[in-house]
């Protein structure tokens, strides 16, 4: 029942590429086929795709760490901690990702001198910082929601065992939250991975940039659809397993709650 739509999704993706290639063949009998051209450029575009994955993994890891603290800050009893945490979360959650990206690319230093050694900060790393900010804010909201969804009885129980607030959080509340946080967290990762082509606008040499460069070098308009189609399929292949696993986990969590 739940598997049927997934099969359809994969079928649709395949159809896209086949249709794209067929369209290209029909449009251009000249030169070599779209598939040959695609194979020629695949290593370069694949190299770009590795960068997409790398950017998303780093942004997710750092964003999750920062977001965890920011989320806990949101539910902190002290106003002086909670208010700035809420403000930062809301600010970065409601800012367009592309604007944050531009901001980081043009504001962060491209070269850092630490203890006499000069290190170049590559473009993609600054773009990663730009994507980390919205991830942080979204993780912060996920953490806040999960912590607040734990029944208050758990807090009271922990208090009766004379656990400090910190111990209650780390030993009682957060382990229970983990299961609830995992599906939205994975969802966020899939969205992040799909957003990494935004970095092409600021000149990062990721898969979309490489695809455009390949198209610019080939200068054959009939390649446009198959090349972008292949890119679509590559992202689909990376994101679909995550979506599948997320649904499994959600179903599992639902059973746990009801059963």
């Amino acid at each position: 029942m739940t598997r049927a739509p997934d099969g359809k999704a994969a079928g649709f993706a395949l159809l896209l590429v086949v249709a794209g290639s067929a369209w290209a063949q029909a449009a251009a009998p000249a030169a070599d086929g779209a598939l040959t051209a695609l194979i020629r450029w695949a290593p370069l575009i694949g190299q770009g795709f590795v960068l997409n994955v790398l950017i998303s993994v780093i942004a997710m890891a750092v964003g999750t760490l920062l977001g965890l603290f920011l989320g806990l800050g949101q539910v902190a009893p002290s106003r002086w901690v909670a208010r700035p945490a809420v403000a930062a979360t809301q600010f970065f959650r409601n800012a367009p990702w592309l604007v944050l990206l531009f901001y980081c690319i043009f504001i962060l230093p491209f070269r850092i001198t630490l203890f006499g050694t000069t290190v170049d900060v590559p473009n993609w790393l600054r773009a990663t910082a730009g994507l980390t900010l919205p991830v942080m804010a979204n993780v912060s909201e996920i953490v806040r929601g999960a912590v607040q969804s734990v029944p208050s009885g758990q807090w009271e129980g922990a208090a009766s065992l004379a656990l400090s607030r910190r111990k209650t959080l780390w030993l009682v509340i957060l382990p229970q939250c983990l299961k609830r946080m995992l599906p939205p967290w994975m969802n966020l990762y899939a969205i992040l991975l799909m957003s990494t082509p935004l970095a092409s606008i600021v000149g990062v040499e990721e898969a979309l940039t490489m695809t455009r460069n390949a198209l610019g070098a080939e200068r054959r308009s009939e390649l446009l659809i198959p090349f972008y189609g292949a890119l679509l399929v590559a992202f689909f292949c990376a994101c679909w397993p995550i979506a599948l696993a997320t649904r499994r986990l959600e179903a599992y969590a639902a059973r746990e709650r009801t059963g």
Binding site: S78, F106, F110, A129, L133, R166, N213, G216, E218
Partner: protein, 282 residues
């Protein structure tokens, strides 16, 4: 009690880190010293080039940069005895990258305009020149630009000629980010013609892939292209050195040779410059 305080400090620290990440840091401390000697010291020349503008600057399937402007950059590096490092730029970020100091030289199909001279140091003499024209289907035979008033033309976003064409001849621009997208739109007849660089239209027509198209209108606004250094480098050794490089390329005919290698029809500008600067002693 102490754990509570530590936790607070931890959270405050994390917050400060987050905010610090977003706080406007001073834009790249400009290297106060002389750029030329820094390049020599570091042994690397960072050049901003196009990666999507065949045949001037583009990539081959191995990912290497190739094209006429890449040859120019390689020659600069070879003259200095340093390694060239290519940074891909687009029209929208090339001047920022240079001003920030991410690159020390920009050879990126940029035409030399008064507004741009206020932002970056455009080196003279100019190394190239081109005008704009329209690639039209053969059914359209007009030789008068005014016949295109109110008609829709496809073009590349950010191209310098989009504005003069709109202002002078009242054409409407349908702008795309890449060449492949424009070609597709033109083939799908979403616009009458393609407003583009006249040399490039000549390259396209010579390729045989555009046999249903021609270029019946006279070219407009022949505009020189300039390579650029940072504004404060223009009258320093680095800017003066680059001026010498360009003059030498004109004199030796290297630019003409690179243009030919790239498959571009010989431009009148390069011929004229070569004639003016070539060695008078045979």
């Amino acid at each position: 009690m102490t754990s509570r305080t530590t936790r607070r400090w931890a959270i405050a620290g994390a917050l400060a880190a987050c905010l610090g990440l977003a706080a406007p840091l001073p834009a790249a401390a400009q290297q106060a010293g002389d750029t030329l000697s820094r390049i020599m010291r570091e042994g690397v020349l960072k050049v901003g080039v196009r990666a999507d503008y065949r045949p001037w600057g583009f990539r081959n399937p191995a990912g290497e940069f190739v094209g006429m402007e890449i040859e120019m950059a390689k020659d600069v590096a070879a003259t200095l005895g340093v390694r060239p490092e290519f940074v891909p730029v687009v029209a929208a970020n090339r001047m920022q990258f240079l001003a920030q100091g991410q690159i020390d030289l920009m050879i990126a199909t940029m035409s030399d305009t008064a507004e741009r001279r206020r932002v970056v140091g455009i080196v003279h003499p100019n190394y190239y020149s081109s005008g704009f024209n329209v690639l039209l289907p053969k059914q359209v035979t007009t030789t008068d630009w005014n016949a295109l008033r109110g008609r829709q033309l496809c073009a590349i976003q950010g191209a310098w000629y989009n504005r003069p064409a709109t202002e002078r001849y009242g054409v409407e621009i349908l702008a795309f980010t890449g060449i492949a997208e424009v070609e597709t739109a033109l083939r799908q007849r979403r616009c009458v013609g393609w407003l583009y660089d006249d040399n490039l239209i000549a390259v396209m027509l010579a390729s045989g892939q555009w046999s249903d198209f021609h270029m019946p209108l006279p070219s407009q606004s022949d505009t020189p292209w300039g390579l650029a250094v940072r504004l404060d480098d223009l009258d320093k050794p680095w800017g003066r050195f680059m001026s010498g490089m360009v003059a030498h390329w004109h004199r030796s005919g290297k630019l003409l040779a690179w243009e030919k290698e790239a498959g571009i029809a010989e431009s009148a500008f390069l011929r004229r410059m070569h004639e003016a600067l070539k060695d008078h002693i045979q």
